[in-house]
Amino acid sequence: MKTLKYLFLVSLLVAVFIPASSMAAKAPVVIGLQGPITGPWAYEGEMAKQSCEIAAKLINDKGGILGGRMIELRVVDDAGEPKTGALAAQKLVGQKEVVAVVSTYGSSVCEPASNIYEKYKKVNIGYGVTAVRLTQRDFKYFFRTCGRDDSQGKFFADNVPAKFNAKKIAIMHDNTAFGKGLAEDTERALKPMVDAGKVQIVYYDAITPGEKDFRVSLTKLREAKPEVWYYTGYYAEAALLVSQAREIGVTCPFVGGNAAINNEFVKIAGLDVAKGCYMTNEPLPADLPYDKAKEFLNAYKAKYGDIPSSPWPIYAADALNIIAYTVDKTGSMDADKLAGYLRKDVDGVPGITGPIGFTDQGDREGVPFYIYVVDEKGNIVISK
């Protein structure tokens, strides 16, 4: 009788624990998202949250990862503020089940937060953090899916001279921190080609923003006979510059930086002048040609009515995707293994924003930029 009782107890225990242990195997894989849910960038945080939810849902609908485990998103708010960001990071590192974190929107918020992730060994992937220095710190667990402030200059050097078959390049900036920075980055990126004698920088100068008549500078530019002309400032001056340049007979293609051309530019310059002007720009969500992008944007649109209006949330979704991919491939939750795999083995993995890979510092490899052009109707479209 006693034996029977024990047997009963044991079988009861087994009955309780077997489902529990099989449930444990199917426990969700928790991925953190640190973003500005409140504060001045709340709309960015909200879109990042929605994007990550959609990305997680797409993975879960296909059966999850690691043979059926679902992705669970855990959102913490950093209010777009460094102090709160550090607290948010501290909160996430205290939760052992969080495998890795998508973090975060602003560079100055990311800085203290990534210090904490590094200290507590948690992989963190930034999605809107473009300050160059973030990946100059030899951090082991920090990555980013977005580009850096100097990616655009590099993109220009790699693509624009080839596209226009140009050997003589003019670079013009406006002495603002942004415009000058981009011009300097571009010059730096062109340097190897200049040294090899492939291209020549025939003009490098600044204009004064706010002025209305740039003909003196433009005459100098015309005499330098450039074959392509890159302006790194803002649209208000860019529109006047192009109009006046065409008047005095500068005929070479105009390429603006990502602040130079928008609908206002087309309005100020007029369609006749504006059409055929180029710009280097991060791809807008609607322009992404990848299958994953179409799938993601359709799902997003179905749920929220429209696609994200900013380019950054899709980088957050990509960060989540790549974390899920890495966990799935390595079958591990260990931060060292994940970081090692991200650095060494993730290469050309299809993402929403194009193939994803990371450099040794944790920067995105082959950051997506595109050459856009103003078409006949004044729309800004990808240049074929």
Binding site: T38, K83, L87, Q90, V93, G94, E111, P112, R137
Partner: protein
């Protein structure tokens, strides 16, 4: 305000004595009982307590409306950040240096505006705080790093052997500083300076006619307040290892103002209550996201309606250390 007891030193109630001993014990035990996240919340509580104490000198003791206090905080943080990263000066040495830099800035900037009263002073201090922040954003003298700020600040260390780098060590660092400041400020409240400050707060003209150098004492309050805010800036910068202008917005000045209003003007226990409210409340209510500030606002309004003097208003000769000691000595001379 309980003015029924004219004696400057009042006997402590039993519960006050218990509080006086229980609260410090609680602060010491707390970090050993919780994880790093809660220790960090305790740390930021300490930072806000220090900032509250510093603004309390200006706003609470002297009644000067200062809505630009984040400016002094920023000066302290950036002094630490720049001197540490550019010249490699140890962070611990920079504590007094940051205090001095913020104090000097307060002296220079406040000298010409110190005669302004009430709202007028308030408006000028708002401008002052904003100018500091904008100067930081515009990469002042090429030193402040623009919107990205200054980064790679060291941890404080004592002679290179004992380095403060964990949450719990920072927690004790800030609370030791807060503790020392509280003792100093209580002494100050009971000194000639403290009485002169309160006198100016109650009636500036009367204070002037009794021979108090109003201008001098007002400036002194600003300089001391700025110095303490500078210390808070130093600790904050080394804790985050980076400073950026987002941390020193007008909002931050408002928060400090709220600490004083919630706690009670000129009341040191009140500052602690206010700082606790300001630092813990947003964390507790973070899940409510956008409704957080709505609730916050409602609580503030209710507070103003039902306890206009603050949660723990200052009573003349209230529950503080000297009165405790005098109780022990059974002495009644203030």
């Amino acid at each position: 305000m309980d003015d029924s007891n004219p004696s400057p030193v009042r006997r402590l109630h039993l519960y006050e004595t218990i509080l006086l001993f229980a609260v410090p014990v609680l602060f010491v035990v707390y970090p050993f009982a919780v994880n790093d996240y809660y220790i960090d919340i305790g740390f930021y509580f300490g930072i806000y307590a220090l900032l509250g104490l510093s603004l309390n000198i200006v706003l609470g003791e002297v009644g000067l409306f200062d809505l630009g206090h984040a400016g002094f905080y920023a000066i302290g943080a950036y002094t630490t950040a720049i001197l540490n990263t550019k010249l490699g000066v140890p962070v611990i040495i920079l504590i007094p240096v940051s205090a001095l830099a913020a104090a000097l800035f307060a002296y220079i900037v406040c000298s010409p505006i110190i005669h302004l009263r009430g709202d007028y002073l308030c408006v000028v201090t708002i401008g002052m705080g904003e100018i500091v922040r904008l100067a930081l954003i515009n990469n002042f003298l090429g030193l402040t790093g623009g919107p990205n700020g200054v980064y790679n600040i060291d941890f404080p260390s004592f002679g290179g052997s004992f380095v403060i780098d964990s949450s719990i060590e920072y927690y004790f660092l800030i609370w030791i500083i807060v503790g020392v400041s509280i003792v100093g400020l209580i002494r100050l409240q009971h000194s000639r300076i403290g009485r002169a400050w309160n006198c100016i707060r109650e009636d500036e003209v009367a204070a002037g006619t009794t021979g108090i150098d109003v201008r001098y004492y007002k400036l002194l309050a600003f300089v001391l307040g700025a110095a303490l805010a500078g210390v808070a800036g130093n600790i904050y910068a080394s804790k985050l290892m980076a400073v950026s202008p987002e941390s020193f917005t007008f909002w931050e000045s408002c928060m400090m103002f709220c600490i004083i209003l919630i706690g009670g003007m000129g009341s040191i226990p009140g500052v602690l209550i206010g700082a606790a409210f300001i630092s813990l409340f947003p964390e507790i209510f973070r899940p409510f996201a956008m409704y957080r500030m709505l609730v916050f606002g409602v609580v503030m309004i209710l507070m103003m309606m039902f306890r206009p003097g603050g949660a723990w208003p200052r009573r003349r000769g209230g529950a503080d250390l000297p009165s405790l000691f005098s109780r022990m000595r059974k002495s009644h001379d203030g």
